[in-house]
C-alpha cells in the first residue's frame, strides 16, 4: 500500500540545535554579562545590535560630514576666514573640492589649505567690490568664469 504522509506517532526532532544556537552566540561573544553565554538573553541583544548597526550606517554619513565641517571651520578660522565665506567663495571660484578632501588637506597639507584660503579671501573681496562698485562686468581676475568645451 502507498503511504504518502508519515504516521502520526513519528515526530521530527531537531538534530542541529547546537549549531543553530552557536550561529547567534557567535555574534554575542564580545558582549558583557550573561548575554554572551545564555541563548535567551543573547538573541535579544544580538537583534538589537544588528538593528542599531543598520541605523548607524545611515547616520555615519551625517556624522562624518559634520566632523569635516568642524575641521574645515577650525582651519579656515586660523587663516582669518569663516566657514560660510570660505566654502561659498571656493564654489564661486569654480573649485569643486568636497568637504572630506578639504578636511584632509587642512590636516596634512597646511600650505595648500592656506593658498585655498587666500584664494577664497581674494574672491570675497572682488565680490564686495563688484557689489559696491556696480561695474558692468566683474573686474576681478579671480572672478572670471572658466569655460570648458
Amino acid at each position: 500500500m502507498v503511504v504518502l504522509s508519515a504516521a502520526r506517532w513519528v515526530r521530527s526532532r531537531l538534530s542541529d540545535r547546537f549549531w543553530r544556537v552557536q550561529e547567534v552566540l557567535k555574534y554575542a561573544r564580545h558582549f558583557r554579562g550573561r548575554k554572551n553565554r545564555c541563548y535567551r538573553l543573547a538573541v535579544r541583544s544580538v537583534r538589537r545590535a544588528f538593528v542599531r548597526s543598520t541605523k548607524a550606517r545611515r547616520e555615519k554619513k551625517r556624522f562624518l560630514r559634520a566632523l569635516w565641517i568642524t575641521r574645515i571651520e577650525a582651519a579656515s578660522l586660523e587663516h582669518g576666514l569663516k566657514y560660510p565665506a570660505f566654502i561659498s567663495n571656493l564654489v564661486k571660484s569654480q573649485v569643486e573640492l568636497n568637504r572630506k578632501v578639504l578636511a584632509d588637506l587642512a590636516i596634512y597639507e597646511p600650505k595648500t589649505f592656506k593658498s585655498l584660503a587666500a584664494l577664497a579671501q581674494r574672491r570675497r573681496q572682488e565680490g564686495f567690490l563688484a557689489a559696491l562698485g556696480d561695474g558692468k562686468e566683474p573686474e576681478g581676475i579671480f572672478s572670471r568664469i572658466v569655460h570648458h568645451h
Binding site: 538589537r48 544588528f50 543598520t54 573649485v95 573640492l97 578632501v101 588637506l105 597639507e109 595648500t112 581676475i141
Partner: protein, 155 residues
C-alpha cells in the same frame, strides 16, 4: 569736515592690487613654477582625483578601495582623468574645476576584486511581529596608484 561715525561706511575698505602689476606678478609665478616642474625639483606629488563618484586625496604607492565593480581585469593599468588638484611641497596646481589632461597623468593598477565582509541588515519593529534580515556583500575593487606625473605646460 569733521569725521563722524557715518562719514565712511561701517565695512572695512577693500582695495585690490593694481591689475598691471598683478599680471606681471602672475606671469612671474607661472614662469617659476614651470621652471621648477621642468627641472624636476619637486618631492612627492599628491593629487585630488574624482573617481567612482568620490574624491580621493592620493599619492604614489597608495592603495584605494572602491565599493563597486570596475570593468577592468586584475593587472590592468588605468589612467585617471578627472584631476582636481595637484600639489608638491613648494607649489600647488588648483583646477577650476578640473586640470588639463596634458598637464597631469595619474596611473593606477587594478590589484584585487573581492567582496566586502557580509554586512547584516536587520529591521525590527517591536510588538508588531516584524523582522527582516538581509546579508549584503558588496563587490569591492582595490587599486594601487603607481605614479603621478606633471608636465611643464602652464600658461
Amino acid at each position: 569736515v569733521a569725521k563722524t561715525s557715518l562719514t565712511s561706511p561701517p565695512w572695512p575698505e577693500v582695495k585690490l592690487p593694481d591689475p598691471v602689476e598683478e599680471a606681471k606678478y602672475h606671469a612671474e609665478v607661472v614662469r617659476k613654477v614651470n621652471e621648477l616642474i621642468s627641472a624636476g625639483r619637486y618631492g612627492r606629488l599628491f593629487a585630488v582625483v574624482h573617481f567612482a563618484s568620490k574624491q580621493w586625496k592620493i599619492t604614489s604607492e597608495d592603495l584605494i578601495m572602491m565599493d563597486n565593480v570596475l570593468e577592468a581585469e586584475c593587472g590592468d593599468r588605468i589612467r585617471m582623468e578627472k584631476v582636481l588638484l595637484v600639489g608638491a611641497d613648494d607649489f600647488t596646481l588648483v583646477g577650476r574645476p578640473l586640470l588639463g589632461k596634458e598637464l597631469v597623468r595619474v596611473e593606477a593598477t587594478v590589484i584585487e576584486k573581492t567582496e566586502s565582509w557580509p554586512k547584516v541588515n536587520v529591521r525590527f519593529w517591536r510588538r508588531h511581529n516584524f523582522q527582516r534580515k538581509k546579508i549584503i556583500a558588496n563587490p569591492q575593487t582595490v587599486l594601487r596608484i603607481n605614479t603621478i606625473e606633471i608636465y611643464p605646460c602652464l600658461s
